[in-house]
Amino acid sequence: MKTSTVFSNKSAEEVKSLMTFINYASREINCKIVYYGPGLCGKTTNLQHIFEATAPQARGKLISLATETDRTLFFDFMPLELGTVRGFKTRFHLYTVPGQVFYDASRKLILKGVDGVVFVADSQEERMDANVESLYNLEENLQAQGYDLMKLPYVLQLNKRDLPNIVPVADLKAELQRKEEPVVEAVASSGAGVFDTLKAVAKQVLTELRKS
C-alpha cells in the first residue's frame, strides 16, 4: 500500500485507487522507479546511459547528489517521459540510492512512494556478498516503508557481464532471484540491457494500473 494522489472531476465512486500519482488536471501519470544495489554496481551508470540515449525533449535534467569522487551521496534523479497511454502522458521519475552500506538512512527515505524497483547486481565474484547484503537490505527497508518486495513491480539486472571474473548467470539467479521477476543481463557502461531493464519494470508498473 502506498500514497496515491488522483486528480479528478469525477465522483469518488468513478475513480479507482491507483498505485501511481495520476494527475487528471494535466493528464499525466507519474511513476517512481528506484534503482537499488551495492556500491559501485552501476546504478548511476544506468541513469547516465538513459539520459544520454534519450531525446532532450523527453527527459529532464539528471540531478546527481554525489561526493567529489562521484560516489552517490543522497540520490540521482531524472524525470523521463515515455509517451502517451490512453491520453495520459507517462512520466517516470528515476531515482538511484547511494550503494555504500553506511548511507542506509538515505536509502530508506528514497524508497518512500516507490512504484517499482530495479536491483542492479554486480556480476563479479568478489561482489557476491555485497549483492546478497544489499538485497537483504532492500527487503528490510521496503518492509520498513510498508511494502512487500514480493508484491512490488521488480526487475533483477545482472550488470557488468563484460568483465572477466563474473559469476555464471544461473548461479546469480539461484542466489538473488526472489520471485518470477524478469532477469536482464547488462553492461550499463556501454548501454547493453539498460533499456530492456527499464522497459521490464515500467511494463509491470503500468500493468499494476490496470489491476489496481
Binding site: 500514497t3 494522489t5 488522483v6 500519482f21 509517451g83 521519475h93 515500467a202
Partner: protein, 157 residues
C-alpha cells in the same frame, strides 16, 4: 507506514491553486507550490516558465525527508519549516501533513513575510487537505482498467 490514497477533484485542485495564488501575492513571492512528501508536484502558481519544478519538487521532498530523518535521530518528530537563504533567491518550505508548501522568493520579499504568510495559510490548507484525504474510494472503473499490452508496448517503440 504507507499512506492511504488521496482523491483530489478538479474543483478542489482549483481551490488549492487559488489559495496558492493568494499566498503568492500576499508574500510577494516568485513561485508557490504544493508537492507531496514523495516529491510529486500537485499544484504551482507564479513564474514557473523557466523553473524546473519537477526537479525542485523532488529535491525539496528529499530535503524534508533528510531533515526529518535528522529530527528523529535527535528525538524530534520532524522540523515543520525549513528555510534556505541565498544571495538573491531563497526558499521556504512548510510541512503540512502529507504535503509540502514551497515558497520561492527573491529580494522583493523577506523571509519574515514569507514565514508569516505561509503560517497564516497553513491552517486553511491543512483543513482542505484533511477534507480531501477523508474521501474514501469506492473502486469501479478507471481510465486505466482498459490498458492493453499493446498500449504499454507502444511506449517503447
Amino acid at each position: 507506514m504507507a499512506d492511504t490514497p488521496i482523491l483530489l477533484r478538479e474543483n478542489q485542485y482549483h481551490q488549492l491553486k487559488a489559495v496558492l495564488a493568494q499566498l503568492r501575492m500576499d508574500s510577494a513571492a516568485r513561485v508557490v507550490f504544493l508537492v507531496d512528501k514523495d516529491g510529486q508536484e500537485i499544484a504551482a502558481q507564479g513564474e514557473i516558465a523557466n523553473l524546473d519544478t519537477t526537479s525542485l519538487a523532488s529535491l525539496a521532498a528529499g530535503n524534508v525527508a533528510a531533515t526529518g530523518g535528522m529530527a528523529q535521530l535527535i528525538g524530534e518528530k520532524e522540523f515543520p519549516t525549513l528555510s534556505h537563504e541565498g544571495e538573491r533567491e531563497s526558499i521556504h518550505i512548510s510541512v503540512i501533513g502529507r504535503l509540502l508548501l514551497i515558497v520561492v522568493f527573491d529580494e522583493r520579499s523577506t523571509l519574515g513575510l514569507v514565514k508569516l504568510r505561509s503560517r497564516q495559510v497553513s491552517h486553511q490548507l491543512a483543513t482542505m487537505i484533511d477534507e480531501i484525504t477523508q474521501v474514501t474510494f469506492d473502486n469501479h472503473d478507471s481510465p486505466f482498467s482498459g490498458i492493453t499490452d499493446e498500449d504499454i508496448d507502444s511506449l517503447f517503440k
